[in-house]
Amino acid sequence: MSLTNEEFRPKIVAFCCNWCSYAGADLAGSSRLSYPADVKIIRVPCSCRVNPMFILRAFEKGADGVIICGCHPGDCHYSTGNYYARRRMTLLFSMLDYVGIERGRTRVEWVSAAEGVKFSQTMNEFVETVRSLGKNVRLGDLRCKN
Amino acid sequence: MEASKKSRSEMVKEISGTNPLKCMKCGKCSASCPSYEKMDIKPHQFVSYVINEDVESLAKCDSLWVCLSCFACVERCPRDVKPGKIVDAARQIVIREKGGSYLVPDEIPELIDEDMPQQLLVSAFRKFRR
């Protein structure tokens, strides 16, 4: 079974920090700024809560793209969380590039509670990029696929 | 007809790259315009014609050819609506729709009158040398 790009609906997992990006997503919602339903948000207290294990697990279970959103550097609710997250994700995503995972499937974006527009734009862009890359075949658990 | 009208106003937006809905009708463009007196449609009114999808009237008006393209309005517009670019876009539409009837260099001397400011000649190149 092959899917053309038009039919292809990617699975996107977005990890959003509770204080900025999740609120930014709420603002996008209350401002009725749409983005594809392919994006499903997981609320975490801070971007520094995102364990590489979660990201790889998402890919394993069939996610086509993973995006991490947090407060802008300097604005972290916990002062320093996003600084750690920035280093961790830079290194992890660089490693994923290195083992041949397409670069467009991973992304880090800083979205404040006031940036509903940015949240929606980011998600639209990200979904478009992942859609153009097609189904994730390099990291998936192939047993579940038919 | 309805469709072509609409597409012309869309074209103005596309060519000018501006969003007329951003205008807050402050009138700074009209206050800045050196050719204001000679204009039948005033600079701050341009946007309404585009919003109301009446590019027809815009295309017929004198303002289009009175505008010096000095871009004072573009520079000063607080909302980044750039009325000068709308004029420019309307001109282009008119010129495009005329087909091949571009201004021929030989015709220019006849068209020049003595009061014509130097700036107009320079900006004429902006208008016609497309």
């Binding site: 699975k11 997992v13 509770n18 900025c20 999740y22 997503a25 709420d26 996008a28 919602g29 209350s30 749409s34 983005y35 339903a37 499903k40 948000i41 997981i42 609320r43 975490v44 207290p45 801070c46 520094c48 809560r49 995102v50 364990n51 294990m53 979660f54 697990r57 998402a58 279970k61 069939g62 996610a63 604005d75 609710h77 916990y78 002062s79 969380g81 750690y84 404040s112 509670a113 006031a114 940036e115 | 009708k25 402050c26 009138g27 700074k28 463009c29 009209s30 206050a31 800045s32 315009c33 204001y36 005033k42 701050h44 004072a72 520079e75 000063r76 517009c77 607080p78 909302r79 980044d80």
Partner: protein, 662 residues
């Protein structure tokens, strides 16, 4: 018994219009662990909560999922509801079907599909939730107010009147702020100083209020109820205890070239100065960038003349550390720089001034002793033009996107005062809109037009051209008459936009309080919690939160004060139980977690561990749950997954991931 209840809210039509709630209920019933699922019009209503409570009791639910609006909105509501019904409040999860589903999707099929998945993820998570108990922490009965303008003063007075200690930290040498610089206030035209100075005196005299002027907040740590703040008291070079405020030093000081900040740079001040006559405290400071003695070692005039012996050139900055239960930000505003609006010739002509500068010119204590005169030649102006919205209401690349809110009213005030005092002066106001919502505000503006004959013209000015004869040619337009106007004026007043004081960025960072793209502090909820920051224990007063006039600022200052008092009145605060916890059986004791903890909440102990019958002493991490704020940085630093975050545990998040990707 294990059983999950799922409650799907219609939110009127907010959710139900784009999500088939019945289908969500159907699908939820198929999920493992779910024993009850129902939908209702408004789950957050009393009747809705009653349904939840009943189901918890009747079906003996061990956890619930409420599919409704954002957890930022009603998580607390549903947790309380669960608690009342006898369920641990942390056995509640919210699926955000409104902000993150129904409101952004139009297609009902698509919306429903996503809603089902979000619900499934919440169910997967709640299956792994554990009961958590909130801890308690103490409250230090003292508040800090950052900024000593009218907002800060009012907040401090109200808190102090309720019986709590308050410290005001003000970075300039005197409290009073921008209001002290104003001449008259709208819409009643009382003298600003006359109504402000009594409040300044009250603040200084109040036994519960402590002023740190010429001081800045340098470091903030801790959390609601228990902040530790370092305050730098800059060297005044004047001993506050000895100074009598006689003012001789200021008179005798030979260095008089510094621009007076208080007079908006329109007059000079000595190197040793108080910003203005009614300054509180009435103790001068020496400006080290101007003082000849401090710069060259020679002079010492002030020391010679000071009868009290209060001058101390060797004084050093002092850093004091104080503990607070609550912090109020009242940092106020500045007028924007006008570099981007050179068409109005502010940099080219001395007679183009800002409204704040006009305020000083009109003031009897100002640079012209209250006489309206041109700064270029001292002549009385005959034609004055006011230009509104300079730098306000602009596209983002051109200026401030917001309305500065106060300009319409103060311009009407200025125009009125000028026409009143100098009836032969023509006053023209170019406006885009006149915005006068507020008690007696529109009446005030109408009086300016009707009684005082101020000429209001609709249309923004294009440019101001200084002429050879010293006059200013104003290129304007009257949009109503459809005429372009060229008015020869001899003074132009610009209603420049206001912006938050630039220091607020740094302060917000120290407080971990969020800030918007315009540098205004963000409120916890724009409508329902307007004076609180999302950061617990931090409150907002005055223009730091958004443009405001004096009456509004004072009301907000009072509102912030009552919020502070409400906090300080408590003896104990419930702490967030979603804290980190180490599995001491397996901890390596490697210190990675402690290295990333921003709160110093992790320490190490040697513990005797019984590992499958083998007793051994191990170095293990111990989290102080009173200090831990639950960010989770440690959980990722821990390679063995031993450090976990309660409420957002590794397994819970993995379960959500699995449910979403299923």
């Amino acid at each position: 018994m294990h059983g999950i209840g799922v409650f799907v809210c219609h939110c009127g039509s907010n959710i139900a219009a784009t999500v088939d709630v019945k289908k969500v209920v159907e699908m939820a019933k198929l999920e493992p662990g779910v024993v009850h699922a129902e939908d209702y019009q408004y789950m957050c209503s009393e009747a809705g909560q009653e349904k939840i409570a009943q189901a918890i009791k009747e079906k003996n639910l061990s956890g619930i999922v409420v599919c409704s609006c954002s957890p930022r909105m009603h998580e607390a509501t549903f947790r309380k509801c669960a608690e009342k019904a006898g369920l641990n409040p942390y056995m509640v999860e919210i699926a955000n079907l409104r902000e993150q589903c129904s409101w952004i999707h139009k297609d009902i099929e698509e919306g429903t599909e996503k809603a089902v998945i979000l619900t499934r993820a919440a169910i997967a998570k709640v299956n792994l939730n554990t009961s958590l108990e909130a801890g308690e922490s103490g409250v230090i009965k003292r508040a800090l107010v950052i900024g000593g303008g009218i907002a800060g003063i009012q907040t401090a007075l109200d808190i102090a009147d309720a019986g709590y200690e308050v410290d005001i930290v003000e970075k300039t040498p005197s409290i009073g702020g921008k209001m002290a610089q104003l001449d008259k206030t709208f819409p009643t035209l009382d003298c600003s100083a006359c109504i402000l100075t009594p409040k300044m005196v009250d603040a200084a005299a109040h036994e519960k209020i402590n002023l740190y002027t010429y001081s800045e907040v340098e470091k903030v740590s801790g959390f609601v109820g228990d902040f530790t703040v370092e305050i730098r008291k800059k060297a005044r070079y004047v001993n506050m205890d000895k100074c009598t405020g006689c003012g001789v030093c200021m008179e005798k000081c030979p260095s008089k070239k510094a621009k007076s900040e208080f007079n908006s740079g329109l007059s000079n001040r000595p190197a040793i100065y108080t910003p203005f006559a009614q300054a509180i405290p009435n103790v001068p400071v020496i400006d080290p960038t101007q003082c000849i003695k401090l710069k060259t070692g020679k002079c010492g005039v002030c020391e010679k003349f000071c009868q009290a012996g209060a001058i101390d050139y060797k004084q050093k900055d002092e850093v004091i550390t104080q503990k607070y239960g609550a912090i109020v930000v009242a940092t106020g505003f500045e007028v924007i720089k006008l570099d981007n609006y050179d068409e109005y010739a502010y940099s080219q002509s001395k007679d183009v001034i800002t409204s704040l500068e006009l305020e000083r010119i009109m003031n009897a204590a100002g640079p012209t002793k209250g006489h309206l005169e041109r700064l270029s030649d001292g002549k009385p102006p005959k034609n004055i033009v006011f230009i509104q919205c300079v730098g306000s209401r602009c596209a983002e690349n051109k200026g401030k996107s917001y309305c500065s809110k106060i300009c319409c009213m103060y311009t009407a005030k200025h125009a009125m005062l000028i026409r009143d005092k100098y009836p032969d002066v023509n006053v023209t106001v170019f406006y885009i809109d006149v915005r006068t919502p507020g008690k007696n505000f529109d009446e005030f503006y109408r009086r300016a037009v009707e009684e005082y004959g101020v000429n209001y013209v609709k249309g923004q000015v294009g440019k101001v051209a200084p002429q050879a004869d010293g006059s200013l040619l104003v290129h304007g337009v009257d949009l109503i008459d459809g005429k372009q106007l060229k008015i020869s004026a001899d003074m132009v007043v610009l209603a420049a936009a206001i912006e938050p004081n630039p220091t607020v960025r740094n302060i917000a960072t120290m407080l971990t309080a969020s800030i918007d793209t315009n540098n205004f502090l963000t409120e916890a909820h724009p409508k329902l919690r307007p004076v609180e920051s999302p950061t617990a224990g931090v409150f907002l007063s005055g223009v730091c939160q958004g443009p405001k006039d004096i009456p509004e600022t004072v009301s907000q200052a009072g509102a912030a004060a009552i919020k502070v008092v409400g906090l300080l009145a408590k003896d104990k605060l419930m702490t967030n139980p979603c804290t980190a916890k180490a599995d001491e059986l397996l901890c390596n004791g490697c210190s990675a977690c402690a290295n990333v903890c921003p709160y110093g909440a992790i320490s190490y102990e040697d513990k005797l561990i019984n590992d499958h019958g083998i007793r051994k002493t191990h170095r293990v991490a111990v989290v102080n749950s009173a200090l831990c704020q639950g960010c989770g940085a440690c959980t990722v630093a821990c390679p063995s997954g031993v450090m976990d975050l309660q409420g957002f545990s590794n397994r819970q998040i993995i379960a959500e991931v699995d449910a979403i990707c299923r």
